[in-house]
Amino acid sequence: MQLTRRFVAVMALGLIGLVLVIDFAGGAVPNAYQAPAVVALGSGQVATGAMCAGLPGN
């Protein structure tokens, strides 16, 4: 059987599914009641998200 790009795309989406399964299996359950303001700008909340340019503690 000749595999097509559809197989690869499905596998990529499956990879997302695997990440979510690992996440839930590790006990990470989101809580919408603890969510931050919809938009950071104007919220008055300090930005705390992690990103590529940042180091922990900085």
Binding site: Q2, L3, T4, R5, R6, F7, V8, A9, M11, A12, L13, L15, I16, V19, L20, I22, D23, A25, G26, G27, A28, V29, P30, A32, Q34, A35, P36, A37, V38, V39, A40, L41, G42, S43, G44, Q45, V46, A47, T48, G49, A50, M51, C52, A53, G54, L55, P56, G57
Partner: protein
């Protein structure tokens, strides 16, 4: 219209409606059960994926086009998008410094080396940070194989990051405020003029598609900053996914100054659906898959590549992740977001990665990834 054509048209319409419905449902579920901000960020990620794949806007391909054919169109579009973001982001960072963070990082030995290696590897697999996600989602097998190793490399690079930064870094330099914006825009215009001057005369044109794509990418990147409080990034999220896998398998990350820090431990315990770069990464893959399926572009047979091509893909995928952590970002986090938020490291990243890309273009044919 024949009966067969009518049936095919109806089938295509329902297929596309199903795609839109699935994407909207995904956003709604995340917005409802995780939080409205997170649903919005997933929608922004989907927007990135749809734009990048739908309008064929990328980073690795345009750099290759400039190196091989002296075709400047893609790079001009990238610089244009960065300029639009800078015009909004640099003033916003000056006025809302607590609520918003820039992609600011110091220039250092490992940072420069990491960018150079990233440039090589992005040309070997023909996919950068965003490009690997887009290509995997749209059915490119090389990118699909590279992606998990990209994530593992990002995890490993972050694990060792403090050792690498200890090799030496200059003080942080950020172009901020009005003067910073002017410096950034003048420098972008100068690079654009240089690229235009170096271009082959017959290639001195930018298709309308790329102007539209650059504008949309810029708007989405501004949306990412305003909603999340930080610029668009890719690599951190991939490393987080691998770190979660390691933790689930019983791995102890306390020995790493990066993964063992209290901040990072908290993020490891939280859902990936609350991690900004994870959400946009997921959106990019799904958005690209949506467009590819919409276009009925997934029927193409997969290419047959030699074993050395797959080995090269795995090694390059790992190095993409590892090097981009040392470089404080990939083409998105360092080049696009670094420059557009005023960080000097974004400029240095661009120079080092482009030099690496020249080498990567030369190496790629020997690895079996294209005809020699």
């Amino acid at each position: 219209m024949t009966d067969v054509t009518a049936v095919n048209t109806a089938s295509g319409t329902s297929h596309r409606a199903a795609l839109i419905g699935a994407a909207a449902l995904f956003v709604a579920v995340v917005g409802l059960f995780v939080g409205a901000r997170y649903g919005l960020l997933l929608a922004i990620g989907l927007g990135f994926g749809i734009t990048l794949e739908g309008l064929r806007f990328g980073f690795a391909g345009p750099w290759r086009a400039m190196i091989l054919r002296r075709d400047p169109a893609g790079i001009i579009a990238q610089l244009f998008a960065i300029a639009i973001v800078a015009i909004v982001a640099i003033p916003l960072l000056a006025s809302h410094g607590d609520e918003l963070n820039g992609a600011h990082a110091p220039v250092g030995v490992a940072m420069i080396g990491g960018a150079f290696v990233f440039g090589i590897c992005m040309q070997i697999v023909l996919g950068c940070g965003s490009g690997t996600l887009v290509n995997a989602g749209s059915g490119n097998p090389v990118s699909l194989v590279a992606l998990p190793f990209f994530a593992i490399g990002s995890f490993a690079g972050a694990y060792h990051l403090f050792w690498w930064t200890g090799l030496g870094s200059a003080p942080l330099v950020v172009f901020s405020g009005t003067s910073g914006l002017i410096i950034t825009l003048v420098a972008l215009a100068a690079i654009g003029a240089f690229v235009w001057w170096r271009a082959a005369p017959e290639n001195r044109r930018v298709p309308r598609r790329l102007w539209i794509a650059a504008s949309l990418v810029a708007l989405l990147a501004i949306g990412n900053l305003i909603v999340s409080g930080q610029p668009w990034g890719v690599v951190y999220g991939l490393g987080l996914w691998a770190a979660k896998g390691v933790t689930l398998l019983g791995g102890d990350l306390s020995g790493s100054a990066f993964w063992g820090s209290p901040d990072t431990q908290n993020r490891l315990a939280a859902s990936v659906l609350t991690d900004i770069t994870s959400l946009t990464n997921i959106g990019i893959i799904a958005g690209a898959a949506l467009v590819a399926s919409w276009r009925a572009g997934l029927k193409q047979a997969l290419p047959k590549l030699p074993a050395r091509a797959w080995i090269a893909t795995i090694v390059a995928g790992f190095l993409l992740g590892y090097s981009s952590r040392l470089a404080f970002g990939c083409n998105v986090g360092a080049f696009f977001s670094g420059i557009s938020t005023g960080s000097l490291h974004g400029w240095v990243w661009f120079g080092a990665a482009f030099l690496g890309a020249v080498q990567g273009v030369r190496i790629r044919p020997y690895l079996g990834l294209e005809a020699r």
